[in-house]
């Protein structure tokens, strides 16, 4: 007998990435109803997904750039000031400013 678990695991993951087609949704729902292993896997992925989401906001607050690196940036830019400023290819990139205005 050929099982549907391999495909079900893929669909379970894909649910986080895209909208499943109606046929896929029905097949998956029926399989999850019958198969405890796949049901456990699906609930595990939900827990993992939600946990990572919580961690995201938590982690972000703690991240700070080291003072020595801040000094290094300032020093590098001052050095540039004394030399010849501007006119690098990056200028082209910077001319197109993103739209939203916050100031």
């Amino acid at each position: 007998m050929n099982h549907f678990c391999r495909q079900a695991s893929r669909l379970t993951s894909d649910r986080f990435e895209r909208n499943l087609h109606v046929g896929e949704r029905i097949k998956l729902a029926i399989h999850l109803w019958m198969c405890a292993s796949c049901r456990n896997y699906a609930s595990t992925l939900q827990v993992l997904h939600a946990t990572l989401k919580y961690m995201r906001s938590d982690e972000e607050k703690k991240i700070k750039l080291s003072p020595s690196r801040k000094q290094a940036i300032i020093a590098q830019c001052h050095q540039k000031n004394e030399g010849n400023a501007s006119d690098t290819p990056v200028n082209d990139l910077l001319k197109s400013n993103p739209k939203p205005s916050e100031e």
Partner: protein
């Protein structure tokens, strides 16, 4: 609009935000610091190009994004990661009849609890490190940064099907690895 042309003021005002943005995406302290420095330097050289039709922070983040993508692409080129997509590491998880080799267990801990559990955090870190590089980076961007799927595809120059495959494999590996670390009893 006021033009503040002092690099110290820029760094004081925006460097932590930029570093946070890069650090979360690259998950690598040194690389994140380097791209932030590169971004500030590029911005400073091109400060006359700033038109003021977006906030300065938005403008700096825009430059930083390009630096981050450059960094990731360079990494992909040097490590020749293309073969990750052609191998089929699915087989360790399934028998030849497509049933589970090692059935998933139920996780009883809540996400709120897990996210403050130091054991879980260190296990997750360890399990993430075991993923192949590109799988790890893609998974990080999608699940930890919460980046849009299309942006991830563009960054890595992959199709959305490639993205789904990488995410699927990362999830299979992480689930297995985390259960081996004792989660889901």
């Amino acid at each position: 609009m006021q033009q503040e042309e002092d690099i110290s003021a820029w760094v004081a005002a925006y460097s932590d935000d930029l570093y946070r943005f890069a650090r979360i995406r690259l998950q690598d302290d040194d690389a994140a610091q380097d791209v932030v420095q590169d971004a500030f330097f590029a911005a400073w050289k091109a400060k006359d190009g700033f038109k003021g039709n977006s906030s300065r922070k938005t403008w700096l983040i825009g430059i930083l994004k390009h630096k981050i993508i450059d960094h990731i692409r360079k990494q992909i080129r040097t490590r020749k990661l293309t073969d990750e997509l052609t191998q089929d590491p699915n087989s360790p998880w399934f028998n030849s009849d497509n049933s589970w080799q090692d059935a998933a267990r139920v996780w009883r801990d809540s996400p709120e609890h897990l996210c403050h559990d130091d054991n879980f955090r260190s296990s997750l870190q360890e399990c993430m490190q075991k993923l192949p590089l590109r799988q790890r980076q893609v998974f990080m961007l999608r699940e930890i940064v919460g980046e849009d799927a299309q942006v991830v595809c563009n960054t890595f120059d992959i199709t959305s099907t490639n993205l789904h495959v990488l995410m699927h494999r990362a999830r299979l590996s992480l689930r297995h690895c985390l259960e081996k670390h004792g989660f889901g009893a």
